[in-house]
């Protein structure tokens, strides 16, 4: 179980260091798969309908459909060049690492304050949310903002996994967040087709 969250953090570190959009999308797909594994281990006692929603959400949306659609948009518009970060990869790797160190401190702290949550998941999910915010503000291109938001969303999913005990309503509501991602992607897709202005994407 703990090995999965460590893999998750490794994907985040890779994301902060790479500069090709394809790599980004692959990492996001891997994150989706890790979340899928976590959730089937975690939510074993959940009722069938929620289980189906969750499998569709993590395996279907996060791992397959969204990344494939993203790849399609990226290839179609040939936006494979640099991600144009404001800070260089070295600094962003450093900052992301620092955010994760802070996340570990949050884990230590929260394990003393609150009972019945998984401290490691809690701290690292907060760190993921912060790291995603950093990715969003550090990149110029619109498509990277959307990728950053997808990582943000994965962080939120991880956060809800860190809460022990089943919360079906959170799972249901969490699906709504994907609606936004869908709208973003459609927005980019439609505009790119219409205006042929992939320079700013």
């Amino acid at each position: 179980m703990e090995i999965l969250i460590i893999f998750f953090c490794i994907t985040m570190l890779i994301i902060s260091a790479v500069s090709r959009i394809e790599e980004y999308i692959k990492m996001i797909a891997i994150q989706g798969f890790i979340l899928f594994l976590m959730s089937i281990i975690e939510f074993r006692n959940i009722d069938t309908s929620h289980f189906i929603i969750m499998v569709l959400e993590t395996l279907g949306m996060k791992t397959i459909i969204m990344p494939m659609f993203l790849m399609y948009i990226v290839r179609k518009n040939e936006i494979t060049r640099e991600l144009q970060p404001y800070l260089s990869n070295f600094y962003s790797l450093f900052i992301t690492t620092m955010i994760y160190v802070a996340g570990l401190f949050i884990s230590f702290w929260v394990s003393g304050v609150a009972q019945d949550i998984r401290p490691l998941h809690f701290g690292l999910s907060i760190a993921t949310i912060l790291a995603a915010m950093f990715i969003i503000v550090n990149r110029k291109k619109v498509i990277t903002h959307v990728l950053g938001y997808m990582i943000f969303e994965n962080g939120i999913f991880l956060l809800s996994l860190s809460m022990a005990g089943e919360m079906p309503i959170i799972v249901d509501l969490g699906v709504m967040l994907d609606l936004f991602v869908g709208v973003f992607l459609l927005g980019i897709f439609v505009n790119a087709i219409h205006e042929k202005e992939s320079e700013n994407l």
């Binding site: 304050v113 903002h145 943000f152 939120i156 809800s160 079906p168 309503i169």
Partner: protein, 474 residues
């Protein structure tokens, strides 16, 4: 009745989509706004109970429903002639009306819902429904504004979601536990850690939609790029809605007797909003953007009013009503000016009073109201808030508050007066439509404001006091 109000706009959206007829667009939306206004007034006498427990009219949301109904009615009137001499094709107009219907649907759902999760879903729906309205003009600026709007609000709504995770962690996480009535009942048993951190995230999230600093940066662009009737709706109703969401969660904090934290958060965000609008309003050259910054300022005042407590809560509600009506009147008049001069740059406009005294008068009266001069209700609300601040010995806060308000007022007044006065004849050169519906809604709002400012009628007073008693300390 509630079911009808919620379902009608959805059904109307489908019908409008199928027929794409100009006359149907206008008549259906106006008809619905009239029905909505009548039902909102009838809710004050008789509370329907057909969709309990999910949707309900209670003393707190009735006040928001009333404001939305009045504003929506006025905006519908101005919508009748909005496309009169524009060359927007009917198909695009239909999309405008459909988005408006979906917008009203999601606002209704938000105001009436009694469940934290449901509330959140409807707030998300308002973002999606209004994004197209902001992008309506299809200029590069509009695209930027719409993108910024939807992206920042999405981040905000995701924050609110994180807050909901924390709060549901505190209460156990089943669907029933997230009804506000259950949250209020169980508030004391929730761990302080979860409720504080949950409140922080939810206020950040809903505060994004309310336009509170530091998450306000989408607001000036969005409100200035949207078509003017929609700016009026966005500024006059949507911001209030997010405020309702914050109040609902604030009440959990009251029930949990955990006030200090909640008040400090609201105070910080309120004062920051004033600081940001004071910093930017002086160099704004776009008069619609200036009005948007003034919305941020007023939302800040409302947040401060709530955290001052006591009569400050009453003042916050009064301020909200006054601000909604004033800002709607302001934006609709800005629409007239834009219609006449075809520019949003305040520097290119002068002698408004000389060339178009009707628009000029409305512009001036709206300014007098937003400047919180008597006999308008914003005077009363700001006066109460300041008196309360001094009464509670918060002298530093009072000084900062007054100073920032003065700067903002100077910024607005400078732009407004430069636009109003002068003797230059500047005819736009081409014929433009000039009907009474361009002026009636604003006049209606200003009359309502004057009534509220001079003497608040007994029934309105009762509604206000009931709402205040929902928020006041027990």
């Amino acid at each position: 009745m509630i079911a009808f109000l919620i379902i009608f706009p959805l059904a109307a959206a489908v019908i409008l989509y199928l027929f794409k007829s100009d006359i149907l667009n206008r008549s259906v939306t106006t008809l619905y706004s009239a029905i909505y206004l009548v039902s909102a007034v009838s809710f004050t006498i008789h509370r329907p109970s057909d969709m309990e427990p999910y949707f309900m009219v209670d003393p707190l949301n009735i006040i928001f429903i009333l404001i939305t109904a009045i504003l929506y009615f006025g905006v519908s009137l101005s919508n009748i002639t909005y496309f009169k001499d524009s060359d927007v094709p009917v198909k695009k107009q239909t999309t405008y009306y459909i988005s408006l219907m979906l917008f009203v649907f999601s606002m209704n759902g938000f105001m009436l819902s009694q469940h934290l999760g449901l509330n959140w879903v409807f707030l998300e729906a308002t973002t999606l429904a209004t994004a197209y309205l902001i992008y309506f003009d299809k200029t590069d600026e509009a695209l930027d504004a719409a993108w910024k709007y939807i992206f920042i609000c999405t981040i905000g709504i995701s924050f609110a979601f994180v807050g909901i995770i924390f709060i549901s962690k505190g209460v156990g996480g089943s669907v029933e536990e997230l009804f506000y009535s259950n949250l209020y009942l169980n508030a004391k048993s929730i761990d302080t850690f979860w409720i504080n951190i949950g409140f922080l995230f939810i206020v950040l999230g809903f505060g994004t939609k309310m336009g509170l600093a530091p998450m306000h940066s989408w607001l000036p662009d969005a409100h200035s790029e949207a078509p003017s009737p929609m700016s009026a709706m966005l500024s006059g109703t949507l911001l209030n809605l997010a405020f309702l969401g914050i109040l609902r969660v604030y009440k959990i904090m009251i029930a949990a007797e955990d006030m200090l934290f909640a008040r400090n958060i609201l105070l910080i965000m309120g004062v920051l909003s004033l600081v940001f609008s004071a910093a930017f309003i002086l160099k704004i050259t776009n008069y619609k953007k200036m009005l948007a910054y003034s919305s941020i300022e007023n939302m800040g005042i409302i947040a401060i009013g709530i955290c001052i407590g006591g009569p400050g809560v009453f003042a916050a509600f009064l301020h909200m009503i006054g601000h909604s009506l004033t800002k709607a009147s302001f934006f609709l008049t800005a629409g007239n000016i834009l219609h006449r001069y075809k520019t949003k740059e305040s520097g290119k406009i002068d002698s408004l009073m000389h060339n178009d005294y009707k628009t000029g008068t409305l512009w001036l009266l709206s300014f007098v109201s937003i400047a919180a001069l008597p006999p308008f209700p914003l005077f009363i609300s700001e006066f109460i808030i300041i008196r309360e601040m001094i009464g509670k010995g918060r002298i530093v806060l009072t000084v900062i508050f007054l100073l920032l308000l003065t700067i903002i007022m100077y910024g607005i007044a400078r732009t407004i007066f430069k636009m109003l006065f002068g003797n230059r004849d500047n005819n736009p050169g081409e014929h433009f439509y000039d009907g009474f519906l361009l002026y009636l809604p604003q006049a209606m709002f200003i009359v309502l404001l004057l009534i509220m400012g001079i003497y608040i009628p007994e029934p309105v007073m009762k509604i206000l006091n009931d709402a205040v008693s929902m928020i006041a300390l027990k």
